[in-house]
Symmetry: C2
Subunit: 145 residues, 2 copies
């Protein structure tokens, strides 16, 4: 979708002193194309659409590099494998333990909690890495009856 953020990522790789390879570009493009919440396996599948010869281990290694460069991050949504996204898709996740639905919420929702925890404990939360679990309205209603 955004050629620009792909180019920015590529530039960041180059700037870090790492090499810009066909495989790395393919992973960045796949992340850009396939949107949020993708597992490493799904990222690989998106890569394989255009570059069928990229090895799965290379996808893992590239994701690791991108995370070190703060270009991409992973989140834990419920059980199962990590989910990956580019850095500018910043939002948070509520995962329903009933139906598995994922609700996205804006970062600002965490501001009061963030302030409270900072004041109480000095801890600066970064809620990207983990999701919150619970029960969505629909499943709560179902359970309530």
């Amino acid at each position: 979708m955004s050629a620009q953020r792909v180019e920015e990522a590529i530039e960041a790789i180059r700037a870090s002193g790492s090499r810009v390879t066909v495989d790395r570009r393919a992973v960045v493009e796949a992340l850009d194309r396939s949107g949020d919440h993708q597992t490493a396996e799904q990222v690989a599948e998106a890569v394989w659409v255009h570059h069928p010869d990229v090895n799965l281990a290379t996808v893992y290694r590239t994701l690791e590099l991108l995370e070190k460069l703060e270009i991409a991050f992973h989140v834990h949504l419920g059980h199962g494998p990590s989910r990956w996204h580019l850095a500018d898709d910043v939002h948070h996740h509520l995962v329903c333990e009933g139906c598995g639905r994922v609700i996205e919420i804006p970062d600002s929702t965490f501001d009061p909690l963030r302030k409270r925890l900072l004041d109480d404990t000095g801890f600066v939360i970064d809620p990207h890495h983990f999701s919150l679990s619970g029960v969505c309205g629909r499943c709560a209603a179902k359970a309530g009856r």
Copy 2:
């Protein structure tokens, strides 16, 4: 520490129609003894102190049973394996991505966020299953310099 909560757990197993076995009692006692944040492997080690013949698979199966009966739960703290605790040790976790330190916070800290999310989205959060990650005061100070 608490013989009482062990007995309550045993009673709940019996009440559910499951059998009360030596192995299951050993797992409950190990959880009770070894406190919070233990991996399945660590629970097994605690079991083996008094019952060296209990199989690791049995520990996993028992933890699964205890979770179904809401006697014990697992949380995801940072990367790595799940951590287990008995149900009445209810509190939440801040995991420092710098030093790995775990800070425990009371459930009530989440009340405003809980209300906000319930009002906005109908979602009832249960922050037990996942921790919050971030950077502790000490590491933040270190990074700030």
